[in-house]
Symmetry: C2
Subunit: 159 residues, 2 copies
DNA sequence: CTTGACCTTAGATTTAACTCTAAGGTTTAT
DNA sequence: ATAAACCTTAGAGTTAAATCTAAGGTCAAG
């Protein structure tokens, strides 16, 4: 039996999180002490680990609640149901990855085009790209305009 | 000159969004009509496009506000500043991708291990994996337990 | 018998970027 | 002159998952 702080420490979450999970129907300790302290059993701890594992593969708490209720009533559910949830999540995750990959490619293109030097950003190709509609990013070259101050170090590519 | 609805349509955003951007200091039309209608200039439209392009590479509105202020005062900023913002964002995006890739791999492993059939989930390897701590997911095989009902179609791998 | 670490509750706050509501004024077309 | 389509404002609601606050009760040690 664990008090809330003990279980929290054991599973590396905050006590707030455990109360939050309880409020949202994910994990309710069966017992309370006379004085009202929550007492979690090993079974509760296992349920918490289920929740954390499901979180670790990307499920939301609402989805985890569904998985938990399926898990408690397995015989009334099919593999198809469970795999369906996983596959939907997989599609969502893949879609998000695709979006972020797009960001990544664009950002990389912007980063690569900019010298990153100490010169004025007046001719920075990143800003130019954001200002204009063109798909390609003009690359700054060695003779680009912001090398016009000979007192400053010349604007060389980093790394 | 555009009224708010015209600019919204032109750039495929909601009027709400334009008011929201104004409230947050990203885009304020210089003019109003006598009756208080916002009138956006072509310059405002360009600024909106800047915002949308920056959004399209993953910047938050707060970061876009910063980029806009840099853009209006380029000579007081260096390429290093601009590239720095891009590189920070790139790192964030890459970190998020890494997390999602982890989700994706885990989900794929779960999905692959489950037959996805109409049989009871009593021996579903997905649920088993979430219940237990083991890193590897046990794969359901052709003779797995939930094929014990001969009245139902056997639990075959989908696709 | 008091200090400090723990526990309780209800409810507010956080983050991001909208999105919606209510109540009303303006423009344009018929 | 009236209806439709537009515009205004302030402010509340949405989503997700906590995280924090305030005000107080409990427990073990010294
Ligand atoms: Zn440069
Ligand atoms: Zn640059
Ligand atoms: Zn199966
Ligand atoms: Zn299965």
């Amino acid at each position: 039996m664990y008090r809330i702080g003990e279980l929290a420490k054991l599973c590396e979450v905050k006590t707030d999180t455990l109360r939050f999970y309880e409020k949202h129907g994910l994990l309710s300790p069966l017992m309370r002490t006379e004085s009202g302290y929550r007492m979690y059993t090993e079974e509760d701890a296992e349920r918490l680990r289920f929740i954390l594992r499901a979180k670790a593969v990307g499920f939301t708490l609402a989805e985890i609640a569904e998985l938990l209720s399926i898990d408690l009533d397995k015989s009334n559910w099919a593999c198809a149901d469970v795999k369906g949830m996983v596959d939907i999540k997989l599609a969502q995750v893949s879609a998000k990855i695709a979006e972020l990959n797009h960001f990544q490619v664009s950002l990389k293109r912007l980063s690569d085009a900019c010298c990153g030097g100490p010169e004025s950003a007046e001719h920075c190709s990143i800003l130019e790209a954001l200002e204009s509609n063109s798909a390609e990013v003009k690359r700054e070259n060695h003779t680009h305009q912001h090398q016009n101050n000979p007192n400053k170090a010349s604007c060389k590519r980093k790394g």
